[in-house]
């Protein structure tokens, strides 16, 4: 199932080189570029993980911020007691287990009901954590005492983003991936063909949630302190969703394509025209729905194929150039 054709090797070699270059970038790049890029990697990992479940099954989840925040809090609580690696591993497990419980209790919900439920879940967790911290801990903030350099965080997030994309691609070629897509096409039909839809859905929801929790935990290492509003910020769910849809949730590498322009846009606009960012973001949504229903990825893929086949615009341009 996973054979690679000989023609794929140049692309893979090129990709490996690019990854190496990115991993070594901290040697030359400034601190600003690094922190921008590490946020980008985090967004790529989040939106790829989101698309892995929500993009294929069409169960639109707005609980990204909830799992992200759960990751942050798990790390914040554990990192003073156990070594960092164990704390991070625990984060993944906690994210997985919480999502398992949520998934099992929401099986009856579809469509808008699922969307609203996951949104409500984030709000609920946010409020309860906030209340707990104020009432029981008597302080709204928790401090992170981590001695981890930005370069390490950068490299870990790069690895996480790549792992998520490769993992998502790998699963898409397994039986599990076919089952996921079948559920997205028509859940009733999927069930009648013998797919254990409950198991597939809940398992993949939990996998995607554990990635989100780990990303949250790694990013938390950069914060001097955290509180509930930082950890459970609802707008994160929306940003992740829009990045995935802009890029194209039907391809494992699609969400990454969406995260890049969105990141640049937000960086550019929030600095110069803070009030215009929502307008641009909003128009982005509208453009996607009316003009790019599948996202950017299918367009890129078509361009690549026609280029590879030598019939495309760029190939013709290249030929023109040579003559």
């Amino acid at each position: 199932m996973l054979e690679l054709a000989a023609k794929d090797w140049p692309a893979i070699a090129l990709g490996a080189l690019a990854v190496l270059a990115l991993a070594l970038l901290p040697l030359v790049a400034s601190g600003y570029v690094l922190s921008l890029l590490l946020l980008l990697y985090a967004n790529i990992a989040l939106s790829t993980a989101w698309a892995f479940f929500s993009g294929t099954t069409r169960y639109i989840s707005l609980a990204t911020a909830a799992f992200f925040g759960i990751g942050i809090y798990t790390l914040a609580i554990l990192h003073v007691h156990v070594p960092m690696a164990i704390a991070l591993l625990a984060t993944a497990v906690v994210g997985f287990l919480v999502a398992l419980i949520v998934g099992l209790s929401t099986l009856r919900l579809r469509g808008v009901y699922f969307v609203v439920f996951t949104f409500g879940l984030t709000e609920l967790v946010h409020q309860v954590v906030n209340w707990w911290e104020m009432k029981i801990n008597r302080t709204a903030t928790r401090y992170i005492f981590a001695d981890v350099s930005n370069v390490t965080i950068y490299q870990v997030l790069l690895a996480l983003a790549l792992l998520t994309i490769v993992g998502s691609w790998y699963v898409s070629r397994l039986r599990l991936g076919y089952a996921l897509r079948a559920i997205g096409e028509d859940e009733m039909v999927a069930r009648h063909t013998g797919i254990d839809t409950t198991r597939v859905k809940v398992l993949c929801f939990a996998i995607s949630a554990s990635v989100m929790a780990v990303v949250g935990a790694v990013l938390a290492l950069r914060y001097p302190y955290i509180d509930a509003s930082i950890a459970f910020n609802n707008s994160r769910s929306f940003e992740v969703l829009i990045a995935a849809l802009l890029g194209g949730p039907s391809r494992p590498w699609g969400p990454a394509l969406g995260a890049i322009p969105l990141m640049l846009l937000s960086e550019y606009l929030s600095g110069t025209f803070p009030h215009h960012f929502p307008i641009a973001l909003g128009l982005c949504f509208v453009v996607i729905v009316y003009f790019l229903p599948g996202g950017i990825a299918p367009l890129v893929e078509r361009a690549y194929h026609s280029w590879a086949a030598g019939r495309g615009f760029t190939a013709q341009l290249a030929r023109l150039w040579r003559t």
Binding site: V116, W131, P278, I279, G282, F285
Partner: protein, 293 residues
């Protein structure tokens, strides 16, 4: 004051709060229940009504009620145009309601940002509020603010009007037919597109009316619209999509539970109580409290 009086006051405040929730949600249930368009930019029209009231009292020294003459027609027109020109293409290409919902949620979410951005650019992000009818009233031993009471009565009046229109007029019959089954309605000669557009536009106008009433006692800013969309959505889903008359009842339930829960447990937990109740309803009766099983 005895415990019973305090409890009564808490209950009464819950009722008034619930009336507000029901009021905020009425229009959304028309839009989502009848026209089948889940409009996430709904709260921006609510906010539009609130801003119109604010400007009419602060700039022109007019009674905020008069602002309805401006805000209602504008909200109606914008929503009608939205339905005809933005939603119709999506409805035409959608394979089923789930597919339509996905597209509509994205577009209206985008519109939410656009409207919010426009409001921020034009009116800044400042928190606004004004004082109107803010006098205490004694109600069977409990004290409530007159503006809250007025908004509550306004909510009841609007719900009653809506009920009468839906039950006892030809237009209402057509709307109810569309709610139950758009295809069947079109077979028996209902102009589904026209009446859906009407319901959608009326829902937007109701949002503006609710915004005006609520703005008399709650401060707001250009970014708070989405909160009301969510509150409305929660109430609509609790009541049952398309159960327009159940909306007020669901709002009242939510308000009373929130008020009593906040008093008995901890005021800081009110939002958590709200969402717990909502999620419980969603898990136990996903189609809403007031739908026939």
């Amino acid at each position: 004051m005895g415990a019973a009086v305090i409890l009564f006051e808490v209950f009464l405040n819950g009722l008034l709060l619930g009336g507000m929730y029901g009021l905020v949600a009425l229009g959304l249930n028309l839009q989502y229940g009848v026209a089948r368009i889940l409009n996430l930019s709904y709260g921006e029209f609510f906010l539009g009504g609130a801003f119109a009231a604010f400007f009419s009292i602060m700039l022109w020294k007019l009674n905020p009620l008069l602002s309805l003459f401006i805000s209602l027609p504008i909200a109606f027109a914008i929503n009608w145009l939205m339905y005809q020109y933005l939603m119709m293409p999506l409805i035409r290409r959608a394979p089923d309601q789930d597919g339509l919902d996905a597209d509509v949620v994205l577009v209206t979410f985008g519109l939410l940002f656009v409207f919010q951005g426009l409001a921020l650019v034009n009116w800044s992000g400042e928190v606004r509020g004004y004082s109107f009818l803010s006098v205490p009233v004694n109600l069977a031993g409990a004290t409530v603010a007159l503006n809250r009471l007025a908004a509550f009565l306004g909510a009841c009046l609007l719900a009653l009007v809506l009920f009468v229109v839906l039950r006892h007029t030809r237009v209402g019959g057509a709307l109810r037919a569309i709610t139950i089954d758009p295809l069947a309605a079109s077979i028996v000669g209902v102009d589904v597109r026209r009446y859906s557009a009407l319901a959608f536009a009326a829902g937007g106008a109701l949002a503006a009316a609710a915004g005006m009433l609520v703005s008399t006692f709650i401060s707001f800013s250009a970014t708070t619209g989405v909160e009301y969309t969510l509150k409305a959505l929660i109430v609509v889903i609790m009541a049952g999509v398309g159960r327009v008359t159940g909306t007020l009842a669901a709002g009242l339930l939510l308000g009373v539970v929130e008020s009593l829960g906040g008093y008995l447990l901890d005021p800081a937990l009110t939002i958590a109580i709200n969402f717990s109740l909502f999620m419980l309803v969603l898990l136990l009766r996903p189609t809403g409290l007031f739908t026939r099983a």
